[in-house]
């Protein structure tokens, strides 16, 4: 639905820019690697959270993302470590449950529903990437 998607785009952009602003406000002057990693992590979480909240609770994957973020404070350190590790060693593997692992909230649904959620998730991911690219382009100009 193009009109819905445009509104999702708008909402995501707004929320993401707002969170970026908030993140950048608190940025210390020093640019250590650790600091960068932390910022990177926060920005990534912010982008997923912005997209999930822009989509709303209608979709299972957005609900799963928001729920995960809500519970994130308990596992922040652990998750950050695992995420960075995954970032470095990500590789393409086989089928069966990979799609479930990739799509948030995909563990507990049947395959048919999983495909539905995947389709919507792909659409929103694409939007997310596109907007982030635009932001980066503007920031780098």
């Amino acid at each position: 639905m193009p009109s819905n998607h445009n509104s999702i785009k708008t909402r995501f952009t707004y929320r993401f820019a707002r969170s970026l602003k908030k993140l950048n406000k608190n940025r210390p002057a020093s640019q250590s690697m650790k600091e960068t990693y932390r910022r990177y992590h926060m920005i990534r979480v912010a982008s997923y959270a912005s997209m999930a909240s822009a989509v709303g609770p209608k979709r299972a994957w957005s609900r799963a993302v928001l729920w995960k973020i809500r519970n994130r404070t308990l596992h922040r350190t652990l998750m950050k470590k695992s995420r960075i590790h995954v970032l470095r060693t990500r590789k393409v593997s086989g089928n069966p449950n990979d799609l479930r692992k990739l799509v948030p909230g995909g563990e507990g649904m049947d395959f048919c529903r999983l495909l539905n959620e995947t389709a919507h998730y792909i659409k929103c991911l694409r939007t997310q990437v596109q907007i982030m690219k635009n932001i980066v382009d503007h920031c780098s100009n």
């Binding site: 820019a17 539905n116 990437v129 635009n134 932001i135 382009d137 100009n141």
Partner: protein, 503 residues
């Protein structure tokens, strides 16, 4: 043939049902017309006459559906009555137990009176009609046969008695479902049917045996369509009543749609639409298809649990005669019909439905994922999808890393976010850039530029060297993708230097 039907049905799925219905309306109603005229008289009967007629004919679902324009209570009553008959399979008089209370006494009278009843009809059974046994099955058969054009009613009677155990069953099934599904039958189709039906005054009585029906294309055509209608109704009602039972969420969505719409469209699930088309396309297999469709639906809804009873009928029906596979169970199921040459086990039918849904989703995903148009096969498709999702997620991570390093000192203009360009996905007025004099920034942003630029000068001078180091580190971190981004990172710093000199 079944395969052809399936493909044709799939192609025309979204358009055919209505057309089909319209096209076959007259035929259907010719088929059912006699029943209706016989039993329910023409359109403005009194409630009693309606009752009588309906009770006598103990029509199939089609009949019961036929007069939606009439008072609904009448219809319900008649259906309830029929339901009684069907379910009990005994002499109807005793069976009028549950259900529509309106009818109760009337029904019993109607049934019992049997032979005395019929003469009451204005449209009449031929006077040569012998005495009717007050047998529900017989009456059903008689009613049904009266639908099939004119003819010798008497001739039909005798052979019909030995006939069609399954037509009787199907009738029962229809009726069994009819009472429940009637509330759902408020569709245009039924209205149209009713109107057409009412127009049929003469009694085309070409009752024949099942065999004759098979041979008679017209009958075959009509018969399945009537059953089709009934099945539609049944399906819809079953959907509505069984919605709560559905466990599959995806399927539930379809059913919700189905329940919410008229029966013509309400058969939102593809199965039902295919059913409608099937009768049109393949006359001979129409009944079979209908049975398959209904059985399939049924299997789906009942979650393969207790459908064997209902689904066994389609199998049995198909064995007997190809055309009249009206295999409605006695309970409220959504009917799925197995296609020709395919297993009719409830599990396999549900499985097939599931597979079809999956393939549809896969096709949709194929459109989404770029470069997948020529890929065939579920496994390869899944691999591509997984790769694509992974690449998108990697891109997000990379971009967020870039954002973390590139512009920590940027001041975002939130007001500018609501720029028109958002619609096109480009964010021009959002961010005050790093002070490039070429203006991606719109007018509103420019005033802020000086402040940002000032800050930039400050910050860049401080962090310039450290920033470059960080960029190099990031690049060396092994981001395998986004070469252009890397180059952009590198070019970013020279630009900063450039800006410094500018201001």
């Amino acid at each position: 043939m079944a395969g052809e039907d399936a493909t044709v049905q799939l192609e025309k799925r979204n358009e055919e049902p209505l057309n089909y219905r319209d096209g076959n309306m007259s035929s259907q109603w010719k088929l059912n017309g006699n029943n209706l005229t016989n039993t329910s008289m023409v359109i403005n009967p009194t409630s009693n006459s309606m009752v009588e007629s309906l009770s006598c004919s103990s029509d199939s679902m089609a009949d019961s559906f036929a007069p939606p324009i009439w008072n609904q209570p009448i219809i319900w009553q008649s259906l309830g009555y029929c339901d009684m008959n069907v379910k009990n399979n005994a002499s109807t008089s005793n069976t009028l137990g549950n259900g529509t209370s309106i009818f109760g006494p009337v029904r019993s009278n109607a049934m019992l009176k049997g032979s005395t009843f019929l003469p009451d009809f204005p449209v009449m059974l031929p006077p040569s009609l012998p005495h009717f046994p007050a047998d529900s099955g017989f009456i059903e058969r008689a009613a049904r046969f009266s639908c099939f054009g004119g003819g010798n009613f008497v001739d039909m009677m005798s052979p019909s008695e030995s006939l069609n155990p399954y037509t009787g069953d199907s009738l029962e099934a229809f009726m069994g479902n009819g009472s429940k599904s009637l509330p759902a039958m408020q569709s245009q189709r039924h209205e149209i049917n009713a109107i057409e039906c009412s127009k049929e005054v003469s009694l085309p009585v070409e009752l024949g045996t099942e065999g004759s029906l098979i041979k008679n294309d017209k009958m075959i055509e009509n018969f399945p369509s009537s059953h089709d209608e009934a099945k539609y109704g049944i399906g819809v009602s079953a959907h509505e009543s069984d919605e709560a039972k559905f466990s599959g969420s995806g399927f539930q969505e379809e059913l919700d749609d189905a329940a919410g719409e008229s029966s013509a469209k309400g058969l939102g699930s593809k199965k039902r639409k295919r059913t409608g088309q099937g009768t049109q396309i393949n006359v001979n297999n129409g009944g079979r298809q209908l049975a398959t469709e209904s059985a399939k639906d049924q299997a789906e809804i009942q979650q393969q649990g207790d459908q064997n009873q209902a689904l066994s009928k389609p199998g049995g029906n198909r064995d007997k005669s190809g055309s009249q596979g009206s295999d409605l169970p006695k309970e409220e199921y959504i009917h799925v019909r197995a296609r020709r040459g395919q297993a009719t086990n409830s599990h396999s039918l549900a499985e097939r439905v599931r597979r079809e849904k999956l393939s549809e989703r896969m096709k949709f995903l194929q459109d989404l994922v770029p470069g997948c148009s020529k890929v065939t096969g579920k496994a390869v498709m899944l691999d591509e999808i997984i790769n694509y999702v992974q690449s998108l997620q990697q891109q997000v991570e990379f971009l967020s890393m870039k954002l973390a390093t590139v512009n920590p000192w940027l001041d975002f203009n939130i007001g500018g976010l609501v720029a028109k360009d958002l619609q096109t996905g480009t964010i021009q007025a959002v961010l005050p850039g790093l002070g490039s004099s070429s203006v991606p920034l719109q007018g509103s942003v420019n005033p802020q530029f000086s402040t940002v630029g000032g800050r930039l000068r400050e910050s860049t001078s401080q962090v310039h060297c450290a920033w470059e180091d960080e960029l190099h580190n990031i690049i060396q971190m092994g981001f395998n993708s986004n070469e252009p981004l890397n180059s952009q990172n590198l070019s970013g710093s020279p630009r900063l230097g450039h800006m410094k000199t500018e201001h």
